[in-house]
Symmetry: C2
Subunit: 287 residues, 2 copies
């Protein structure tokens, strides 16, 4: 099913890219954008992917059958009760937050009751650049999107949300909020923290050495350029899972360090080979 | 100055790419290739970047004014005495090894004495793919090359070696062998070990989670796909410098871990910001 009117709450990189993708694919009739800042409201009003922009949440949500919360991960849970209270019965609410447990708890507690129903989403698309000015309609294409599996939600709404993300080009996976948070701690938050730690450690080196940094280091540290405010929030929101994943990584680093220190060549080679194996298995999941 | 005849000792990724680049740019009159394996000798003989291939080191070196050792890093030091003893007075020997101290020590001890003169090189070009089949003539273009600064070497030979690497498109830097090894421990070997450790740690995750690995993780682990035999040698050859760099990285990881565990948001953000600063400084060195 297509949605008639979609409200995008927060036109940042993800929100604005989503609006662009919806417009390009004709996936809904009308797109309403909510922004807190009046200047941003005025800016959005002039754009072809925005039929109406408002800084009143009540007006922005009114008449929408899908509301997508695209604000920063730490603000989403706080917004949910208000947005649900303003939403119409039968409407669907979702979000784009990259940590899901707390958001989904709030959403499930507040949903139903003659108002809209919340199901969490995590479209795994992004960039080391943030903000509306970096938005692009193909941001979601071919990327995975996790839809959380809530209890007590009509199947039809769950299917609609699947269809919605598929319409903007995503590959949708179902997962519980808890498993989602453990998974992204490993495949997204840990690599980020590691990339940042490497970049942090190397910020000491002099200009001569910097000029010798090759593609390997550039690739390894690319994501360390990501927005610090955003990543501070993400890491803190998923603290216990990230710390658990980091402990696993520290074990791997210790192994490598001991093999190297003791010149255990064949063990070191086997260690490296395990890494090759993992990386090749990622290539195999690429299309 | 152009060299008349260049001998490439070992036609792997770097050796074969170098021969291709020399041929394309007309940087020498004749290219001779030495390979240990008779099948490889036969294979090279038919290629347009090889005027003569031989498995006799004596024949391959004879008449060359430049000899470039392109075998694996652990075999270069062992080859140097023999190659120097076969070389003509006034000829120049260099190599492509990624760890320099031991190689340069052997080269300096053995050089001169009415034979060729050794100066170490490290063209910082490569790929996660190895072997002749991945060779390409533009491998070196725009990449940095370190030329070690030996004592007791005529300036003219030093300048010739600079010119040589510039002819294949490289940006040449001078550095002592010791500083080179400390530098690459930080900007190349440490990122590799870290990328491998992350990939090693994540090799445990299931297929569902693997399908959610995004571009960030792919970039962070790309170099972990590098040849394990080669990297075992590199890491062992530069053991003490790599362990020192790893200790610095572990301090950075510990900092991040404590900020996260104690929910010190502003300190965590500042830590991430230092990483952003480093990464942006790398962009600034790009052309």
């Amino acid at each position: 099913m297509n949605f008639e009117q979609v409200t995008i709450v927060g036109p940042g990189l993800l929100g604005a890219s989503l609006a662009m993708a919806l417009r390009n694919r004709g996936a809904c009739r009308r797109i309403v954008v909510w922004a807190r800042n009046p200047e941003r409201v005025a800016e959005c009003s002039g754009l072809d992917w925005c039929d109406h922009a408002d800084h009143s949440l009540e007006k922005a949500v009114s008449g929408s059958d899908l509301i997508v919360l695209c604000t920063s991960v730490e603000s989403i849970a706080a917004l949910i009760p208000e947005v649900i209270s303003l939403s119409a019965e039968g409407s669907l609410l979702t979000d784009v937050g990259s940590v899901k447990k707390k958001i989904c708890q709030v959403g499930e507690e507040q949903g139903g009751k003659g108002k809209g129903t919340f199901i969490g989403s995590h479209p795994m698309a992004g960039s080391e650049k943030s903000g509306m000015s970096h938005a692009r309609p193909d941001l979601f294409e071919g990327k995975p999107c996790i839809v959380t599996s809530p209890t007590n939600v009509p199947d039809s709404l769950h299917r609609s949300l699947h269809d919605f993300w598929e319409r903007v080009g995503m590959k949708v996976h179902d997962m519980s909020a808890e498993e989602h948070d453990r998974c992204v701690a490993h495949v997204s938050h840990l690599p980020h923290l590691l990339s940042s730690s490497l970049a942090h450690c190397l910020d000491e080196i002099n200009l001569d050495w910097r000029s010798l940094c090759g593609q390997g280091l550039r690739d390894t540290t690319r994501i360390a350029e990501g927005n610090s405010d955003l990543w501070e929030q993400i890491l803190l929101s998923n603290k216990s899972n990230v710390l658990a994943a980091l402990a696993e990584l520290e074990s791997s680093i210790s192994l490598a360090k001991n093999y190297l220190a003791n010149e255990q060549g064949s063990e070191l080679r086997e260690f490296l080979e395990t890494g090759v194996h993992f990386r090749k298995s990622l290539n195999a999941t690429e299309e």
